[in-house]
């Protein structure tokens, strides 16, 4: 059954490959600097390599999708997202898989009656608006600079042409590598805890089920690149604005820089030190970045009026339609999956407000007095719990979210054998032995498990510095996902 459910992720992988290669190689192919066939081969190989070599560090995306707490739900959301992207791709639109996925997750959240994390949604929406704007200005400046260099460089036309080609392939391969590394979580993230594969033994070599899963996921992206990306590549490369090789290169460079700005912790810290505004570290759409960069270059060339605004309008329209239609499709498909195919698409989450929860919430500086009358109460679903807290009128949205997080009834069963399913690289041997010491213990609330972990010297020392604290939070999120009962 799990193999069938994996198909949802693989369809998503296919559409991811079909769509997003255009962001990387569209301009190179459009300016005829790289042959379509070369682009497809380089992109698919780089994506597989990126997923296999760097794809393990995908905690964030796993956590994000992990909110969907039933494999049936994850399958349906992936399928709805994939179908939306395929449908939009077929219509020749340049769509963002991130947008479709966010739409799909919102669809599940609404269907399951869960709370929508408005804060992170606002952050993502903000990033969707800011990222093309940054790309616009960055591409404008980069183009001006490189163009001046190109004119003054006194370089042979043929040598320059060759250098451009080389730069396209190298930057393109690098971008595809990062693309594979960053996106593999979207494809297989939700399946890590219901992996249909078993460890494979080839003579003395053992290939973990986790690696096989990542490999299969990356193959689905590669297949998407090879069989479905041609049309979108042509949209990016030819229809919006005819690009010169220099312009194409600036697009790829801008894309790499902007993606880094929104995903690098180091850059965020640097901006903080320089007292500059920071950017949220959220998944952004590379398609939007590309479009922003293209318009920036158009303006830098003084050719703003040459931009095909008809096509641009279609693209912006696709940005709005994609998340909405993915959300609606996901909502209705979840209904069918649950009622027609009798699959569990959500595990209802229950909440309790016993004294230990109130005490723990109090430690965070939240006034617990209004909670006292509700002591001992159990809520059968999120909507109930949230409405009750809202009716108290004493807490803002953030505080309600924190309280609910602590009230959530989980069943965290520490099973150290499960550690083999994940990438051991994330933990040191001391940390692993501390976790193994908790084998067999059961926790009703996730924070109890966290407190238990922090009792050990290894983890308590680690959280004393900000970087260690951040890493611990990631490790903790992963362990919760691993040991949480409904994921069985």
């Amino acid at each position: 059954m799990n193999f069938i459910l994996l198909a949802g992720g693989l369809i998503l992988g296919w559409s991811l490959g079909a769509n997003n290669t255009a962001d990387i190689f569209g301009t190179a192919v459009g300016s005829k600097m790289v042959r379509l066939r070369t682009a497809l081969i380089v992109a698919s190989l780089s994506v597989i390599l990126g997923a296999l070599l760097q794809g393990s560090n995908t905690t964030k995306s796993i956590g994000e999708l992990g909110k969907i707490n039933a494999i049936g739900g994850a399958f349906t959301v992936c399928l709805a997202t994939g179908l939306t992207v395929i449908w939009m791709t077929k219509a020749g639109f340049l769509v963002s898989i991130t947008q479709a996925l966010v739409g799909g997750i919102i669809g599940w959240t609404l269907f399951a009656g869960e709370i929508l994390n408005v804060n992170s949604l606002v952050q993502i929406l903000k990033a969707w608006i800011i990222s093309p704007l940054i790309a616009f200005f960055l591409a404008f400046l980069l183009y001006k600079y490189f163009h001046r260099w190109q004119v003054r460089a006194k370089m042979n036309l043929f040598t320059m042409d060759y250098l451009f080609r080389l730069a396209f392939i190298i930057l393109g391969a690098f971008a595809a590598f990062s693309f594979g590394a960053n996106n593999i979580a979207n494809i297989v993230g939700v399946y890590i805890f219901s992996n249909p594969f078993k460890n494979l033994y080839i003579g003395p070599i053992e290939i973990s089920a986790f690696k096989i899963l990542i490999f299969v996921g990356s193959l689905s992206i590669a297949l998407g690149i090879l069989t479905g990306s041609e049309r979108v590549i042509k949209t990016v490369g030819e229809r919006i604005l005819k690009l010169t090789p220099l312009a194409g290169l600036v697009v790829v460079l801008t894309q790499a820089i902007v993606l880094l700005l929104f995903s690098s912790d180091v850059i965020r810290k640097l901006l903080l030190i320089l007292h500059l505004p920071t950017l949220p570290l959220v998944p952004i759409s590379s398609s939007q970045v590309v479009i922003g960069a293209m318009i920036g270059i158009g303006m830098a060339r003084g050719a703003g009026r040459l931009i095909n605004f008809g096509v641009l309008k279609d693209i912006v329209l696709a940005w709005i339609i994609t998340p909405i239609s993915a959300g609606i499709l996901s909502f209705f498909m979840l209904f069918f999956t649950q009622n027609v195919f009798q699959l569990t698409v959500r595990h209802p989450i229950r909440y309790s407000l016993e004294s230990s929860v109130i005490k723990e919430v109090g430690k965070l500086g939240i006034d617990t007095l209004p909670l006292k009358p509700l002591k001992g109460k159990i809520f059968q679903n999120t909507t109930n719990a949230r409405n009750t807290l809202l009716s108290l009128g004493s807490y803002d949205k953030n505080q309600i979210y924190t309280i609910l997080d602590h009230m959530r009834i989980d069943s965290i069963v520490v099973d150290s054998s499960k550690l083999q399913e994940i990438n051991i690289k994330w933990f040191t041997s001391e940390e692993l032995s501390e976790i193994k010491k908790l084998h067999g213990k059961v926790y009703i609330h996730a924070w109890e498990f966290k407190n238990e972990l922090l009792k050990s010297n290894v983890f308590s020392e680690k959280v004393k510095n900000p970087d260690g604290e951040k890493e611990f939070r990631k490790q903790y999120d992963l362990l919760v996902l691993l040991f949480r009962k409904p994921y069985k």
Binding site: S31, K32, M33, R35, V151, R152, K154, N156, L157, F158, D161, Y162, R165, L166, I169, T244, P245, R301
Partner: protein
């Protein structure tokens, strides 16, 4: 990628070889016509054959270059412009060959008094062709230098116009020349002038392509 580098370098070599034909043809054109003026008929005929051969070799190399650029997707950004330059430049080579052939067929009699200005016309024509070749080479190697060579071509073309018109005036004022010969000589002067005119046409296009690359 190595094969692309190899093909790009091969193309560069072919374009260079093609432009070398112009230099060689222009030198033979000059020598041939000077021989004609000095009545060294055998040497002149040799040069006619040489220019004609260079013209046909130039044609086949031009076709080869066009095929390579299109088939191998080389220099995609500038290929239209490069083809435009090459095709236009070809007409300069054709004109030089045509002038030589016509001299060979019609054997016009050049009056002694016109030989010196005629030599001057030939020299300026050859300079215009050679400067055109330099302008084209610079288009590939150092775009900032193209403008200087284009200016030189324009200068020599203007000189050719002035000298040619002066010769024509002298022809029609000379009462010792038969009217039919006057017409014939005037046509020959126009044919030689056409070579520098074509070189100027190539440079006019070239200046647009330069703006395209710099803008």
């Amino acid at each position: 990628m190595l094969s692309v580098w190899k093909k790009t370098k091969e193309l560069e070599g072919k374009i260079d070889a093609y432009l070398d034909f112009f230099i060689e043809a222009s030198l033979n054109f000059k020598e041939g016509l000077l021989m004609y003026l000095k009545n060294y008929c055998e040497k002149f005929e040799e040069k006619v054959k040489k220019v004609d051969e260079l013209e046909s070799r130039g044609d086949s190399l031009r076709r080869e270059i066009e095929n390579v650029i299109y088939m191998e997707l080389l220099i995609p950004e500038s290929r239209g412009d490069v083809l435009g330059i090459i095709e236009n430049a070809d007409s300069v080579l054709n004109s030089m060959s045509q002038v030589m052939i016509e001299f060979d067929i019609q054997r016009p009699t050049i009056p002694e008094s016109l030989k010196e200005p005629f030599e001057l016309l030939i020299e300026n024509t050859v300079f215009s062709v050679q400067e055109m070749v330099s302008a084209i080479r610079m288009y590939f190697k150092n775009i900032q230098e193209v403008r200087n060579h284009i200016k030189s071509v324009m200068h020599f073309e203007h000189e050719c116009d002035e000298i040619g018109n002066e010769i024509k005036r002298k022809i029609f004022l000379d009462t010792t020349i038969e009217p039919c010969c006057k017409i014939q000589l005037s046509n020959f002067i126009s044919m030689v002038q056409l070579v520098s005119d074509k070189a100027e046409d190539v440079c006019d296009r070239l200046s647009i392509y330069v703006i395209k690359r710099i803008a």
